[in-house]
């Protein structure tokens, strides 16, 4: 009976045949898939502000402050240091000479480096511990870690600030990187990865006399490269783009991260658009380039985290 039905369906199947005949007709009406009509404007809307950011960073302020706005710069203007007369600092030259932006970039680089290195080390160790080792308090510890994902940042603002003040972290870079030393997300990610590995290799190494740390360092960690890459990108993006903790705990301009510096430009350099856009480009370009080169790894990271929020 089943065979009969299949044959019958195939006999009068309207689907594929009909589609085969209607498709050329539709194609004649529209020379491309109708999905382009949705995707092309969408893609434009998403990329347009970034393109305009780059183009505007090469304009001078008089060219920016006009209506209707000009999209392409008339000539490439790198700005000026300003100072004398009525001229204000503008563009890349103004940014580099009149603001501590290089210092802030260095700060952000330091913060991101410490965050990534510490995140990879601590979370892979803990992930391996929770995945493979048997010890007292393992389940309680893991349950407590699980419960922390529900705690929102806003709840931590006041006590973390007070804690940082007591530890002497306020106005230092520690306030920016300490919140990124490790995360529950990172521990889960690594634990899940280690659980997915077969245990045979580790058993063999242990029988051959390898210590627990030796197994972790020589056998397991080299296999964990994809998970480590995901975690590194997560931490890099999070710590480089973080605004909340520097904002709460850093008031001293020499300890600003690039993000905090940019956010506070809004108060001090509100209308110096070419300078602001140059700052945006400097702060974003490294990440955009990294994204373009390692898109697959970035997308894997996106899947794991809602990060922005």
């Amino acid at each position: 009976m089943a065979v009969d039905r299949r044959v019958a369906v195939r006999d009068d199947a309207p689907g594929p045949v009909e589609r085969a005949t209607t498709n050329p007709v539709r194609r004649r009406r529209l020379p491309f898939s109708p999905w382009h009509l949705l995707l092309a404007p969408m893609a434009l809307a998403f990329v347009f502000p970034l393109v305009q950011m780059v183009l505007t960073s090469f304009m001078d302020d008089s060219e920016i402050n006009r209506f209707p706005p000009r999209f392409l710069p008339r000539s490439i203007d790198l700005g000026s240091a300003g100072g004398r007369g009525q001229e204000r600092a503008s563009g890349y030259v103004g940014l580099l000479t009149q603001t501590p932006v290089l210092h802030w970039l260095l700060n952000s680089t330091l913060v991101a480096t410490v965050a990534v290195v510490s995140h990879l080390a601590l979370c892979s160790l803990a992930g391996y511990g929770f995945a493979r080792l048997r010890f007292h308090g393992r389940q309680v510890g893991f349950f407590l870690l699980l419960s922390t994902v529900m705690i929102p940042t806003q709840l931590l603002l006041v006590p973390t600030y007070v804690l940082f003040a007591r530890l002497g972290f306020v106005d230092t870079l520690a306030a920016a990187f300490v919140p990124w030393l490790a995360s529950a997300f990172g521990i889960f990610l690594m634990r899940q990865f280690f659980l997915s590995l077969p245990t045979e290799l580790e058993d063999a190494a242990r029988i051959d006399g390898c210590s627990t740390f030796g197994v972790f360092w020589r056998i397991v960690l080299p296999l964990a490269r994809p998970a480590l890459a995901t975690l590194a990108i997560f931490t890099l993006l999070g710590s480089w783009n973080d605004l909340v903790w520097p904002l709460v705990a850093i008031n001293d301009e020499s300890s600003y991260t690039i993000q905090l510096g940019l956010a506070n430009f809004q108060g001090t350099r509100r209308t110096q658009w070419s300078l602001l856009m140059s700052g945006n480009v400097v702060a974003t370009m490294p990440l955009i380039l990294a994204f373009l080169f390692a898109q697959r790894q970035f997308v894997a990271t996106m899947t794991f985290s809602g990060l922005k929020g």
Binding site: F46, T153, P159, T212, N241, A263, N280, F291, G309
Partner: protein
């Protein structure tokens, strides 16, 4: 080992067992300890501390005065908090459905075998790496009432220029658009992964049984996407309820408090007014409401037969 132990070698066996356990515990916590300490020390510990602070009157300098639940009672008669709640509700009610719809639509389109799909995907994902500080500056530029490109676009189709972020009635809508720009990439990635996880046999079977494309979507694809939709809805709701970064970097709650959200209000009470106790109480209030909403969504989904967690 212990099974065979007779009376004579009991003591050495027990000591080796105790010792082995001790070594196991030390090794385990040596692996898991540092990360667990950092994560719990920066989440559970401050969260409990915040509960204590929320029952005090404290400005961070003078000794704290215990108040009992007074701070929580104050919330019930705080008109500024009410309007912050109203703004947050409006933002969430706009942001969550839009981000789900847009994410689904773009994911379906990107899942089609069309040309440039990779290019479109890159364009739509790039804003994911852009920080809140940069997004804020870009948004104030693009939506600038005097020379912003959006107003130029509106003028070219005959619409009068708008005030956008400087208008109390439009600011929330613009902020929703800005947040969508930064976060739709996440929903697209999640939906795209879910679409690609739908077994081919399911859609093919439906086509063979004579369903047309629309019916396949309605009766095969949509039910398959239900769990991921619940998950994303919960995630985006939490994100929207805690919106802060973008507000700080665009309007700082303005104009006339029209974009003050609950978390921004927490920040304002904490940093500007030094009301540590009240700020903590409000953040606990928001935490409780977020938990209730999340639980409600999950329970509702379960009732309808969808398990998302």
């Amino acid at each position: 080992m212990t099974v065979f132990a007779s009376s004579a070698p009991v003591r050495p066996a027990r000591t080796t067992r105790v010792r082995r356990r001790l070594v196991g515990d030390l090794t385990g916590w040596g692996f898991a300890g540092p990360a667990t300490f950092v994560v719990l020390g920066l989440s559970v510990f401050p969260a409990l501390w915040a509960l204590r602070i929320s029952r005090q009157k404290w400005n961070g300098i003078a000794p704290p005065k215990p108040l009992g639940w007074t701070n929580y009672q104050l919330m019930a008669s705080d008109p500024d908090l009410f309007s912050a709640v109203r703004h947050t509700v409006v933002l969430t009610a706009l942001f969550v459905p839009l981000s789900l719809l847009l994410g689904l639509l773009i994911a379906i389109a990107l899942n089609q075998p069309i040309r440039f799909a990779g290019f479109y995907r890159t364009c739509i994902f790039v804003p994911f790496v852009v920080s809140a500080a940069v997004t804020g500056i870009l948004a104030t530029f693009v939506f600038n009432p005097q020379f912003g490109i959006v107003n130029a676009g509106l003028r070219s189709v005959g619409v009068a220029p708008q005030q956008f972020l400087e208008s109390p009635s439009q600011v929330l809508l613009v902020l929703v658009l800005v947040s969508l720009w930064g976060s739709v990439g996440f929903t697209v990635v999640v939906y795209l992964a879910a679409l690609q996880d739908i077994p081919r046999e399911l859609t093919e079977a439906a086509l063979v049984d004579g369903a047309n494309r629309r019916q396949v979507f309605r009766y095969v694809t949509v039910p398959q996407l239900r769990p991921v939709t619940v998950f994303t809805a919960v995630w985006q709701t939490i994100t929207a309820l805690q919106l802060f970064d973008i507000i700080y970097t665009t309007t700082r709650g303005g104009p006339l408090g029209a974009s003050q959200t609950v978390v921004y209000y927490v920040y304002y009470q904490f940093r500007e007014l030094q009301r540590y106790g009240y700020a903590s109480a409000v953040s606990y209030g928001l935490f409780a409401v977020t938990m209730l909403i999340t639980l409600g969504m999950v329970v509702y989904a379960r009732r309808r037969g969808t398990e998302a967690f």
